[in-house]
C-alpha cells in the first residue's frame, strides 16, 4: 500500500530503459526476418550457439569457483594493500579484450611464460582449443563477478558472521552457510553479468583461441565473420544470441531468486 511511484525516479528509469531497449528495437525492425529460420536451422549456427552457451557457462563456473572466494578475500580478509589489489582486479575490465588475448598468449601460449612448460612437461596446449575459449572468456568476465560480489559482501551485516563464529562455525562453514546465502542477490547479479559478458566475448577469444568452427567459433566470432560477407546475417545472428540469452536469463534468474 505504498504511494504512486515518484516521477523523479520513474522518469530517468524509463529514459534509461528506453535508451537500452530502443536500439534493440531498431535492430529488430531492420533485421531480415525472412532469413531467420534458415539461419536458425543451419548447422554452423547451431554449432556456434551451442559452443557459446557451453563455453560461457563453463567460464562462469570457473569464475564462480575462483571469483567468489576472491571477492570474499577482498571484502573480509585483512590483507595489506587491499585497495591496490581491488583496483588490480578491475584491470581486465579496462584492458582492450584483444590486448587481453595477447596477454594470455604471452603467458599461456605455446611459447608463453607458463605455456611453454605446460607444453613441454604435460603436452598441454591451451590456445586454439575450446579450453582456450573458456579461459579467455573467464579472464575477461571474472572481474564482473568479483566486483559485484565484493560490493554485496561489503553491504552485508558482519554481525551474522560473528554470531556463526560464536556457534563454533569455522570461517569456511560461516561463509558457506551464512555469508553466501545472505549475499545471494549480489552473487546472482554478478553471475548474470559474468555469463553475459562471457557470452558476448569476442576480442580475447579470437586472439587467444583463434576461430575454428566447431571448436572455438562462438556466436560473436560467427557474427564477426558474417559481417565480412553478409551484414544482414550478422544482425540475425546477433538477434538469435540475444533471444537465447534473454530466454535463459529470464528463465533462470526468477528461479534463482525464488529459491
Amino acid at each position: 500500500m505504498r504511494s504512486r511511484l515518484p516521477v523523479v525516479l520513474v522518469l530517468p528509469a524509463v529514459v534509461g530503459l528506453a535508451f537500452l531497449l530502443v536500439p534493440l528495437v531498431g535492430l529488430l525492425v531492420e533485421a531480415p526476418w525472412g532469413t531467420l529460420p534458415a539461419q536458425l536451422l543451419s548447422a554452423e549456427v547451431g554449432q556456434a550457439l551451442r559452443l557459446s552457451l557451453v563455453c560461457a557457462s563453463l567460464a562462469t563456473l570457473v569464475c564462480l569457483v575462483l571469483g567468489v572466494p576472491l571477492a570474499w578475500l577482498l571484502a573480509r580478509g585483512d590483507l595489506p594493500g587491499r585497495g591496490v589489489l581491488r583496483a588490480l582486479v578491475t584491470v581486465p575490465l579496462v584492458l582492450p579484450p584483444v590486448v587481453g588475448g595477447v596477454a594470455l598468449l604471452l603467458v599461456l601460449g605455446r611459447r608463453g611464460l607458463a605455456g611453454q612448460y605446460l607444453d613441454q612437461w604435460f603436452g598441454i596446449s591451451l590456445p586454439f582449443t575450446t579450453t582456450g575459449v573458456v579461459l579467455a572468456e573467464a579472464f575477461v568476465a571474472m572481474p564482473f563477478l568479483v566486483i559485484s560480489v565484493e560490493g554485496a559482501l561489503r553491504a552485508a551485516d558482519p554481525r551474522y558472521e560473528e554470531a556463526a563464529a560464536t556457534l563454533g562455525a569455522s570461517r569456511w562453514l560461516t561463509f558457506r552457510r551464512v555469508t553466501l546465502p545472505g549475499v545471494m542477490p549480489g552473487v546472482v547479479a554478478g553471475t548474470v553479468l559474468c555469463w553475459a559478458r562471457a557470452l558476448g566475448e569476442f576480442g580475447a577469444t579470437i586472439t587467444f583461441a583463434g576461430n575454428f568452427p566447431g571448436e572455438t567459433t562462438t556466436m560473436p566470432l560467427a557474427v564477426y565473420l558474417a559481417l565480412e560477407t553478409d551484414p544482414d546475417a550478422a544482425i540475425v545472428l546477433s538477434i538469435v544470441l540475444l533471444l537465447v540469452s534473454v530466454g535463459v536469463l529470464a528463465g533462470l534468474r526468477d528461479r534463482w531468486i525464488r529459491a
Binding site: 554481525r159 560473528e162 556463526a164 560464536t166 556457534l167 563454533g168 569455522s170 551464512v178 546465502p181 545472505g182
Partner: protein
C-alpha cells in the same frame, strides 16, 4: 573449573575495565544502566573484541578465535540467520561442532519444543514475532551446551506468562548446568531468580557485587536502589540521627557513626493529610510530584526534604484524593530504616 576474565576495551569516550570470575556451575548476572558496557563485556568474552584476557581453569583463551571458544551467545538483537529455517538455526551450532544432521535436527527440535516453538521449526526467522525470535535465539545458544553461556537480555521480549515459564525452565536448566553462565538483564526479578551472584557495572566498571540478597539489602548506588525498588540516600550518622547529604534528617533505630547509606522500602512510608500524632519518629512535609497506578498498589512520588517514593494501597489513594501539587505529611517508623557504612 573457574573462569577468570580481565576485560579491557577502549573506545573513544568509553572504557571497559572489568575483572570477572565465574565459578563452575555459577550463574552471574551482569546488571547496569544502558551503555554501561554489558554487551561490550559479552563480546569481549566471546572473542569478538580484541585486547581482553580470559582463562578457564588455568588454560588461556587469548589465542583462540571466537569459533574455537566453547561459548554460546544469545545476542541482544538475536541475529538469527534469515536464510535458514528456525530448525536449521538451532541445529547450526551442533552441525558446526560436528554432529550428524539427523542428530542435530533431533536435538534442535527438542530445544524448540522446550521453548514452545516446535510448530515453527520450518518457518523462516523473518516470519516470527519478536518474542518467538528471542526464544529461538535462546534455544540456539543452549543447544550446544557450551562451557560459557552468554545471555544478553534473553527474556526481554517475552510475554509475562512465557517469561515466567521460560525463566523457571531456564533456572532448572542452569541449576544442573556444569558450565559458567553470564546473564545480562535489566529485570531485577530475572537476576534474583536465576543468578547466584550479581555484578553491577556502571560506566565500564564494577560498582557493586554480591549475592542477590546482599545487593537487595545494601544497594550502593542510585541505580541499584532503583533496581531493587528502595528509597536510597547518602548521609552522615551521629548516633540515631542521620543527616542526609541531599537535605533532611532521619531518625533510625540502630545507632551508627560516620558516612552511611540509608534505605527503606516505599511500602514503609505512610501518608497523611494532617500532621500525624503518634509513634513514628520521622515526620515531614512533602508535595505530591506524581502518582502511578500499579497493579495492586499505587506509587506516589513526593518532593520534600528528603524526596521520597511511597507505595500506598488503592484505598488510601481514593481516600486522600492524591493529585500532583497536593501537600501531605510523610511519616516513617525508625525501625523500617536500614543504614550501613558507605
Amino acid at each position: 573449573m573457574t573462569l577468570q576474565a580481565e576485560l579491557r576495551v577502549h573506545r573513544d569516550g568509553f572504557t571497559l575495565e572489568l575483572d570477572l570470575v565465574v565459578e563452575q556451575g555459577e550463574v552471574v548476572a551482569l546488571l547496569g544502566p544502558n551503555g554501561a558496557g554489558k554487551t561490550t563485556a559479552l563480546r569481549a568474552l566471546a572473542g569478538l573484541l580484541p585486547g581482553s584476557r580470559v582463562t578457564a581453569d588455568g588454560s588461556s583463551w587469548d589465542g583462540l578465535p571466537t569459533e574455537k571458544r566453547p561459548v554460546g551467545v544469545v545476542f541482544q538483537d538475536y541475529l538469527l540467520f534469515a536464510t535458514m529455517s528456525v530448525l536449521d538455526n538451532v541445529a547450526f551450532g551442533l552441525r558446526a561442532r560436528g554432529a550428524r544432521k539427523a542428530e542435530a535436527d533431533a536435538a534442535a527440535l527438542r530445544w524448540l519444543t522446550r521453548v514452545g516453538l516446535a510448530e515453527f521449526a520450518k518457518a523462516r526467522p523473518r516470519t516470527l514475532s519478536g518474542g518467538q525470535a528471542q526464544r529461538v535465539a535462546l534455544a540456539r545458544a543452549l543447544a550446544t551446551s557450551p562451557e560459557l553461556l552468554l545471555l544478553d537480555e534473553p527474556l526481554a521480549a517475552l510475554d509475562a506468562s512465557t517469561r515466567l515459564r521460560l525463566r523457571s525452565e531456564l533456572g532448572r536448566h542452569l541449576r544442573d548446568y556444569p558450565g559458567h553462565t553470564l546473564l545480562i538483564t535489566h529485570d531485577p526479578l530475572d537476576a534474583m531468580v536465576l543468578a547466584d551472584r550479581l555484578v553491577i557495572v556502571e560506566n565500564g566498571r564494577v560498582v557493586q557485587q554480591g549475592t542477590p540478597r546482599e545487593v537487595v539489602r545494601q544497594p550502593r548506588t542510585d541505580y541499584v536502589a532503583h533496581l531493587v525498588g528502595l528509597n536510597f540516600y547518602r548521609g552522615v550518622a551521629d548516633g540515631t540521627e542521620v543527616r542526609l547529604d541531599g537535605g533532611g534528617t532521619l531518625t533510625v533505630a540502630e545507632p551508627a557513626r560516620g558516612p552511611v547509606h540509608v534505605v527503606f522500602a516505599p511500602s514503609a512510608v505512610s501518608l497523611f493529610t494532617e500532621r500525624p500524632a503518634g509513634s513514628p519518629r520521622n515526620t515531614w512535609r512533602a508535595v505530591v510530584a506524581g502518582v502511578e497506578q500499579h497493579a495492586h498498589t499505587t506509587r506516589v512520588d513526593l518532593d520534600g526534604s528528603p524526596a521520597v517514593f511511597a507505595d500506598v494501597t488503592t484505598a488510601t489513594v481514593a481516600e486522600l484524593r492524591l493529585r500532583p501539587g497536593d501537600p501531605l505529611w510523610v511519616s516513617l517508623k525508625a525501625t523500617e530504616i536500614h543504614t550501613y557504612a558507605r
